[in-house]
Every structure is written in C-alpha cells, then in structure tokens.
Point group: C2
Chain length 677, copies 2
C-alpha cells in the first residue's frame, strides 16, 4: 500500500494520499477548513485534530491504531509545554500511514461558526478582515539586494500563497527592520483584507511566533451613550464591554440640538468631533486594561451610529443633516485609518469600518440592526424597533424593507427621567407592582435576587440601589398602568385615589415611590408625573414611526415585532405593549433582541462577508422620512394614551385587562392645556 484514504469530519471531505503525507497537507489539498498560523512548522498548535480509530461503517473505513505516524518530538514538546488534549494530534506533525478518519474540532477551524446568543439559532461565521501569519523570511544577501519588506512579501507568497501585499504605513515599515532581526528572521504578521481589498495590507509585525491574540472593537456610538465590546478575532467572543456617556451631551442632549449648536457656533463641530474621538480612545484603553491585553492588540474596529454622530465622528459638518433634503456627505460604508480618527491608543496599522448609512436620518445603526435581525430574509412581516435617543425602525419581509428613524429622545435610555441612570450595577432593570397591594418588587443590575427576597440588602450592599435604567423605566410605567396607579391618559393617582401611601404628592402632581433608601443614606427613587410625560413623548414618537411604515405598506397589522435597545437588559415585550410603544401583536410574537445595533457591529467585525451583505442590502431598503411626513405628527398626537387610542389591542386584550381608572381632577389637565398652548 502506497496510498491511504483520509476522511475528514465533520465536512465529510475525503481523498487518497501517499503514505507519509502530513494531515495538514491533506486537509489543505481537500479544502478542509483546518487552521494554521505557523504554516505547518509545529509552532502555533492551531491545527489540532482528533483521529478516530476502529470501524467507521458510515465512511466505509476501518482505522488501525497505526493509521497515523507515532507521536513525535514536536508534539511531545508542545504537550509538555502547554498540554495537548487527550486524543489530539498536531495536524502538521502526524502523517498518514493508513486509512484514517480525522475530526477537525471547532476550535481548529478557521471559519468557525460562533453561536451568537442563546435565544437565537443564528450563527456568525468567523471571517475577520485581520489575521495572523507566521513566516520565516530569507536573510538579506548582499548579492541579491532586495529589501526586508520584499523578502517578507516573498515569504508570504511562498508559505501562504499571498500574491503581493499593500505597503504598510511608515510606522510599520520603520519597525519591520528591527522586528525581523530580533526574531532572527522569523516573524508573525497581521494582514488586513476586507471584502473590497485588492490585496492584503500589512498591519503589524511581531518577532518570532506571536503568542498573543488579535482583538477588535465593536462600537455602538449612540447620541446619549457609547458602548464598546472588545472582541477576540479568533472566536468572536466578547472579552470585555464598557460604556460611557457621550461627552457631546454638553453641546446638546439630542441630535438636533447638537446640529443647532454647530449652526450657532461655527467650528462647534470640531469640538464635538474632538470629544467623541477622545471618548472612543479612552474606551479602548479601558477595555484593554480590563482584558489585560496591550491596546496594540486591538487591530480593528467597527462603528455603528446615526448619521449626525457619523458626520461628527468623521469631522464632517452635520448641518446639512438638520435641514431638508437631509443630504449625507457620504452614504456608503467608510473605512478609515485610526490616525484619521485620532485613535492613538490602538494599533497604528488598524482600520475602522463604519457601516453604511441608509439616508440622512437613517444611519449606520439602522443598517447594523438590519444586519443583526435580517428583515430582508423574513418570510413574515417583521417590525424591528431599536430604541435609543433615536429609534431606528425597520418593517418588511424578504420582498421589501422600509426604514425610518424617529426622535424618541433620551427617556428610554434613562436620561431626562428623575431617577434615571444608565445601565450599570445598582440600576433597577426589572420591576413588578402587585395589583392588590400596589407594592413593588424589583431587581437591580449586578444581583440575581429580587428586592423582596432575603439577602437582597446584603447582595446590593456594595452597589446600592441607585436609580432606574431604560428597561426599568419602561416596566415601571407599564406596571403602574397595570396596577391601576396611573390612568390611560398617563395621570398618576393620589394616595387616596390609588389606596397606597407610595403615591406621594409632588408639586401639583403625584409620584410613585419605588424605593426609599434615605434611612441608610440612599436615594429616594420615584416615578414622577414628569417621567411619565417623557415616556409618553418617547413612546408616541416610536409608535408613530412604526405606524408610518405600516401606512406605507398599507397594513394595520404586523406578524411579529423585534424590540432592541442599546442599553439595559432586554426590553420586556409585555410592558412595551402595555405602554403602547409598538402596534398590537400576539405577545409570543414579540421578542427582545438586546443591543441589535451592537450585535450588527460585532457581526461586521467578525465576518467581512457580512459587510458585503449589508452594503448590498441597504441599497434595497426604502427610507421613509418622518420629518416631512404630515401623518407622522397625526400619529404622534394620537398615540399619547397608554396604550393609545388609535388602534385596538385585540392581542394584548387576550392576555390581560387593563384597569379602567381615571385620575383627571383638572389640575394636570390645566397643565396640559398650557403646554399645548
């Protein structure tokens, strides 16, 4: 026998190879997805395989114990140094000696699939733009006077079949000389190639075999808050997350007030660009510290944001976005070098990818939500609401997708709420109010205990109970409605009207006490009438946007609803429905997607084919402009009630009956009249 049959699982790929062929070589020739950074030199250990022995009737193979070469010195050394799992072999060392079945474990696959989240069966295929390659470079020879860079390129061609690389920035060029000599002409290089790159670009280089990993930042740059996820580019795992308030808030709480700031203060955009870039760089440093890596290991970033944030980040005057025809300076996806964005802390050779914008009011954040939730593949009519300071709303099926943006204001993010705060340990994120006793039970971020359970005080001793985050305020308001503490018009009843001392006077209106920690020096956490009004404005804007898209599709009903929000825990479908944030829909058809925009940023970070996909899809998404649509105002005004008056809620009525209460004594009514006047 001079040849043997090799069967790879799980792919099922098979072929006959001469005895002595390394398993890695066989895998490559068959196109089996088996990883290797060192190119088969027994250094990187990425090519681990699990050979199977015995009978394999399915494959028609009997594998003897001698089907692979003996455990060799390289494997022995690796096992002693770092440990090789039982039954594993290094694919570059073990050679074929007989018919064999070889399993490629998930972690040895380059294009490994990563389960995105427990609630979803969707998987991300790892296909990042930046990857590591180990090379052994020819030493310089006076008689063959090619440069270090050219000999590196030759090694990449010889070992990795990479035909030509883009010249690196001078900073890397400068470093290459020293690194090659320090590693005795062995080096690991990071190459970047996205879906549009003609050839890979040299990002960075390390002496010898680089033990570290490469990371990317998936950034959700909101008007109010900025969230960043440090992601391992080998397996898509988020190793650290952090969020900060958007420092531009001091120039204006919502987008239009920031655009106004620029109009009133020429050059004001320069300041805003500066502070947001500074914040992003700070987040990168913070995340690297948290994950205990060097910021230089961060070699990529993807950013999703609305158009105004997009322009302000890029240093483009946003004023055009504040007036019809709301023209974007650029609508396509943007790839920029980190130095252009002043991101001085992360790797100087890295690139930042901004997802495409859909229109002047519908940004890269909406594109990211679309990438995450894929309405363009949906068989039934799906409504996707991404709730932030602006709501990004998508409605459609695989045949047609519409999108709009609606200015909900920061209430859903816990801002402009009297006890509001961002989602951080100590924030109330879940709340129930007993309809009989009117007493609340809640959970805070950082503890799994309910506030009425034993040990709650001890469990929250460090963080305290500090305020209510976005998802908490949605639940609180809805629970108040369900418990009869508030009527359909949004008025909070008095202690007498509601029968609970938790309804306390607050000026000419009332507030509901969720938590009173004053005895221990803590806060008094209430939901005030002002909070209810802020939530009503926000939810009316959200509902009006969704309704406008339904009008455009000439439908009164959607098949399912996906709720997403950048911050806090997942939004509770039932509470969102009670609040009237979304149109009526069977409750089991309302799901919560968490931070869909952030997920879209992560997908684009992990998989360059996803970038190509969303760039193509956004061209087919039809934008509806809320700002100039008179029906938006009509829908907005009509949506004020809780839930609201414009539509029946037959589906919601199936699962609960809202109390018929009214607390209108004229006092608040008078206030409302003044506000309208």
């Amino acid at each position: 026998m001079t040849e043997a049959l090799v069967v790879f699982t799980p792919s099922g790929k098979r072929g006959r190879f001469p005895l002595g062929t390394p398993v890695l070589t066989a895998a490559r020739q068959l196109g089996v997805d088996l990883d290797s950074v060192c190119g088969g030199r027994g250094i990187c250990s990425k090519c681990q395989v699990s050979p199977g022995f015995g009978e394999f009737p399915k494959h028609g193979v009997t594998v003897s114990e001698t089907a692979l070469s003996d455990w060799n010195a390289v494997e022995e050394r690796y096992d002693q140094k770092r440990g090789l799992k039982k039954g594993r072999r290094l694919g570059c060392q073990a050679t074929v000696q007989g018919d064999v079945v070889i399993d490629v474990p998930a972690e040895s696959q380059v294009h490994k699939q990563v389960v995105r989240k427990a609630a979803s069966t969707r998987e991300i295929t790892m296909n990042p733009a930046t990857r590591l390659y180990y090379v052994e470079v020819e030493e310089p020879d006076m008689h063959e006077p090619s440069g270090d860079l050219q000999r590196l390129a030759a090694a990449l061609k010889r070992d990795w079949s990479i035909e030509g690389i883009e010249p690196p920035p001078l900073a890397v060029m400068k470093k290459l000389q020293r690194v090659l000599r320090k590693g005795d002409w062995k080096a690991t290089v990071a190459l970047w190639a996205d879906h549009k790159a003609a050839r890979p670009a040299l990002v960075d280089v390390w002496p010898g075999y680089f033990e570290g990993r490469l990371y990317g930042l998936a950034i959700d740059l909101g008007s109010t808050t900025i969230a960043a996820h440090l992601t391992d580019l080998r397996n898509g795992q988020v190793v650290a997350s952090a969020g900060v308030m958007n420092p531009q808030i001091r120039f204006g709480e919502d987008l239009m007030s920031r655009v106004s700031y620029v109009m009133m203060n020429p050059g004001g955009d320069v300041e805003m660009t500066h502070v947001v870039r500074e914040a992003l760089d700070g987040l990168a440093v913070e995340l690297a510290a948290e994950a205990d890596i060097s910021p230089e290991q961060i070699v990529e970033a993807t950013i999703v944001c609305n158009p105004v944030m997009h322009h302000l980040l890029l240093g483009i005057d946003p004023v055009e976005l504040g007036q019809a025809p709301f023209a974007l300076a650029t609508s396509e996806a943007v790839t920029v070098r980190t130095d252009e964005l002043d991101l001085a802390s992360i790797n100087a050779g890295s690139r930042v990818y901004l997802l495409p914008c859909i229109a002047g009011h519908v940004g890269a954040d909406c594109a990211a939500v679309a990438l995450s939730e894929e309405p363009y593949t949906s068989d039934d009519l799906v409504l996707i609401c991404d709730v932030g300071t602006n709501a990004e709303i998508l409605l459609g099926t695989k045949d047609r997708v519409l999108a709009c943006s609606s200015p909900t204001g920061p209430a859903f993010e816990g801002a402009q709420i009297s006890s509001g705060q961002r989602a951080a340990p100590g924030a109330i994120e879940r709340i129930e109010i007993d309809p009989v006793t009117k007493e609340p039970r809640f959970k805070v971020i950082g503890s799994d205990l309910c506030s009425t359970e034993d040990g709650f005080a001890a469990a929250t001793a460090v963080t305290g109970v500090t305020g209510i985050c976005g998802s908490g305020i949605i639940e609180a308001v809805a629970e108040m409605r369900m418990a009869g503490l508030m009527d359909a018009s949004g008025l909070i009843g008095s202690a007498v009207q509601t029968g609970t001392e938790r309804c306390i006077p607050d000026g000419r209106t009332h507030a509901y006490v969720v938590y009173d920690g004053r005895a221990d020096g803590g806060p008094l956490i209430t939901v005030t009438q002002g909070d209810i009004r802020a939530i009503q404005l926000a939810k009316s804007a959200l509902f009006a946007g969704a309704r406008l898209l339904m009008d455009a599709l000439e439908t009164d009903k959607v098949d399912r609803v996906v709720l997403a929000g950048a911050f806090g825990a997942h939004i509770s479908p039932k509470h969102a429905m009670v609040l009237g944030m979304i149109p009526d829909c069977a409750l089991e058809k309302v799901t919560s997607a968490g931070n869909a925009a952030g997920t879209g940023a992560r997908i684009a970070l992990c998989d360059i084919t996803a970038r190509a996909r969303i760039e193509a899809e956004v061209l087919n998404i039809h934008k509806v402009e809320t700002a100039i649509e008179p029906r938006f105002q009509e829908h907005f005004v009509a949506a004020n009630a809780i839930p609201h008056k414009t539509a029946a809620f037959p589906e919601l009525s199936k699962v609960l009956t809202l109390p018929q209460v009214s607390f209108n004594t004229g006092a608040d009514n008078g206030r409302r009249r003044r506000r309208r006047g």
Copy 2:
C-alpha cells in the same frame, strides 16, 4: 448627404460621422488624443482644434468653408473673454457639416510629448498620475438618499466613464460638502491614479470650473544639496527651480558619518528625518511663491535619493545600510501620503513617489539616472557617471546593465574646496588657463560674459565673483594640468617653476590664484594643494567604481560615456578626461547629461508608464558592491595621478598632449608619505 468624412491630423485617424456631430465627439470615437477637462461643456477650452479648408490631396478630401458649423455664442464668449487664436475652434462646439480635415495642435493633446532638452531627441509623453475632471453633480434628493460623495462618483462615471473612485482622506471628504454647494453642484476634481492603482483616488475638489493648473515637484535629494523643480503637470514645463543645502550636513558631511551619528546617538535619525522633511516643505513653499501659485496646487511629488537619504526621509533607521550585508528596509518604489512625510504645505490629498532602490548602496537616484539615460536600451557599451557626494555609476548595453555607487565625497559639489561653493550666481563655472601666459579666463553663473571681456565687472557687479562651483573646480584642476601649473602627481608648482606670479606660496605648498577681488572688498579665489588632493580622492573613487564595473564585464574600453551631475553647469567632457575621472574614450563620445537624476525624477513625475518601466528595469540591473570588493581599493590607489597610471589614454592623446612637468621637490612628497603612513 447625411454623413461626412472627418480626418484628424497629425494622427491621420479618420471616420464618417452624421452631420451635426461635435468635433470632440468624433475625436473621442476615433480615439484621437484631444483634451477636455469640462467634458464638452464649452468651459475649459482645452479641446481647441484648427480646421483646414481647401484641397487635401494627401487625404483625398476637399474641404469647403461650410464644413463646420458657424462660430457659436459659446465660442464668441470665450474669444471675447480670453481670446481664441485665429483659425481655432472649440472642438465641443463646432459640429461636422461636411468633409473636413482637423488638426489637433500639440497643446490640445492630453498625452502631448514634451521635448526633454535641446541636446537630446528623447521626448517625455505627458501621462501624469493626477488630472482634473469637471463634473456636474446631481443635487441631493430626499427620496433618493445617496451621499454627496456617491453622487460625485456617479457623475464621474456618467461623464468620464470612471468606474468607482477610492474614498478620499477625511480632510477632502469634509471639504466636498461645502465645495459642491458653493459651486452650485458643479465642481472640478483632481483624481490620482498611478500605474498600480486599481481605481483613481480623489485628491482634491474645487467649486465650479477650476481655472488653475496642477503642479508636481521633482526632487533630487542629495547628501549635500537638495534640488526641487516645480513642474506644470499639463505640459511638463519646469516653472521654478530651487536648491538648498541638505540641513543634515550638520550631523555629518557624508553618508557614512551620518550613519555613524545614528549609531553613536540613538534617536539621531529622528532629528535627521525631521530636518530634511522641513527642508523639503520649505522648498515647496519657496517654489510656490516664486511661481505665484498656491502650495495647494502642488498635488504630487517624486523624490530621487541615495539609500541612506531614502531611509532617513522615510524615518527608517539607516544603520543597516552602514554594515554588510547593507540590507534595505524596502527596495521597491514607495508611494506615501504627504502627511506621512510631514509635507504640510502642499496639497493634503497628494502622494509622494520615491523611485525604487537598486541595492543598499545604489539608490533611487541611480534608478532615476537609468530612467533618464536608459542604458538598458543602448546598442553600444555606455558608461554613465552621475557625480555627486556619492557617484552613481551604470555600465552596460541593452543586454546587461551593471551599477555601483562610489563614495566620492563632496568635492565635486564644491564642498571641502577652499573657494568652493554651490552653483549659484557669482560662482565660477567655466575656466580656461592660457598655456603660455598662465592667465585664467572664466565665466560665472548669472553672466554670459567672459572675465576678460569688457563689461564683465559691470555685469557681475551685483553678484560679484564669489567662489568656484563643482563643474568649475573640475575645469580649474584640469586646466592647471594642461597649462603645466601642476604635474601628473597633482603637485602645484611654485612661481619660479611655473613662471607665473599666480602660483603663490600657501604654507609648505602652493596655490594658484584664479581671481583676486580683495582690492574691491571681494574674495581671493585660489585653487590650493588641498583642493587638488580632495579632487584627486574624488576622481580616484569615481574612476575605481567605473573600472570595477568594466572588470565585471571583462572589458577595458567603453563605447561612450555620459557625465551627469546634480549641480552646476554640465561637466566638460574634455576636462573630466584630463582629470582622469573617467576611462579613456573618444572625446566626441563623451557627453554631458546635466542633472540626470533630477531629469529621472521629472520623467517619473510626468509619466506614470515611466514609473512602471523603471520598476521593471531595476530588477534586471546587476549591482556591484564597491565596499567589499578588494579590487576597488587597488583601482582607487592606482588612479591617483592626473590622468592616472593604470591605463593608457590613447583617445585623449589624439586631441592633446599634456606637458611633461614634475614639481616634486620632496616637501609635498614628505607630506604624502605621512598621509599614507
């Protein structure tokens, strides 16, 4: 008749077109090289043509006076505003009405050929990387929400068939928005595309039709001096030139002393990088001012330099170039953005092209000389010597080309010469010494008069006579030898020995007085024994390098010699031969090419196909390393005499006989023994 014959000259291209076809359209369809920046809108006037009328037997056409449409309002307006030469029409306005012969004048051709210099028949075809395009961009439409950049790209595709552009740097992106609105959605863009670009990149954008021109800088970055030529990218014309001393001189006069400085002072390269970039930026500003253009109109630069300057400019540590195996960090041509080189004054969107290096000691300057003088196309064996602080030497034919670099030191550039100076007004550049009277006659830069002619004093009153430049010192030393003032060993005779009072004592040796301006407060300009020794060292190094290449080709004779030098006037072939700078050759076969490296930089600036050509050719040029070749030292020592003793000079002997003199009295001999010891 519904069609007519159109014949274009000088191309001879012809075709039949429907009556009413604009001449520009006909030209484009036939592939006739007729320029247009505005795309046929009657704005740019680049498409001027000269129709011919009457009989054209050669073309078989009779052209009536009505063969073109009447002079129209656009042409009338243009003529009134700026004047149209008699007989000229605008190709985009005049339409075909009958058989016609149309001449395209040189200035209306895109790929116009530019005669490089009077002495040469070589022509440069204008084919620069950066060109202007006028476009009319669609206004933004709320219902078709594409970005400004995307609508600009669509206009370029529609009007210019340009499929996709590289996204611009953020600085241009930021500007685009304002420019498009200022120009009422009409704009002129500069696009850059070199021989390797997959698609053009947006460099800059101007509102409306941009009346200005684009310029490039061709820079010859020498160890001692930096020369820059501001070149019009439409016609290749040099509109201003300037030179400065290389400010790195304070870190070391020659390359190896600068490398040593870095070795002794870690970080010293950073300082040297800074000062040379500052000098380049200063030159750009100076040239723009001289040509009365905005520095932003400079949209490209090409740089030629030796490998050490190359690395120091790019910010790469040059130490590797100072020790075997003299490894370059990168040998291929380099294209960098201006901000990477801190060239803050020129257009921020522009790119800088550095020609490829041949080897660790044979740089982009040598490649530029090759591009200019093309030894690789030569039928006979040509020796090309580019004389600077380092000499770049090429030897070969179309079958094989060798190259080396030789450290001649700065004497040929007038440095380390007692009365030496760089080539500037007032410098002696031509000199003759009467063999009978031993009296000198000379010319200075800035005046056409000879020093013995009437009016010389008046003509040089402003500049004065200030010193001797590189070509002047070569002539002075050779003339002293020919006039019998100096013997073959390089010794200057005394007044008694030579019979002229111009030979004055100078310490233990003698000096020859070329000019004595002391009576009028001017300088005493002499050639000292030390000057002779410096020239001897320089010419020995040059000759030894040339000889080494001849050894490699196993030849004792070359067919022709091309002398080139960055500074001063052209080197005199006869004097170079008398000095023994070059091997013996028929005098009429020795030509002077001026600044060949600078010419190479200009060619690469004007024609991107030349960049492709030299990048391919350098791979075939075989480098000989002088630093490790023992025969180099032998040749060097043997070449000390003037001319020298290693070879006969049969060709030189045909035209002149050098006096048999000897001034060796022992004094200088003793000095020479000490120097050797």
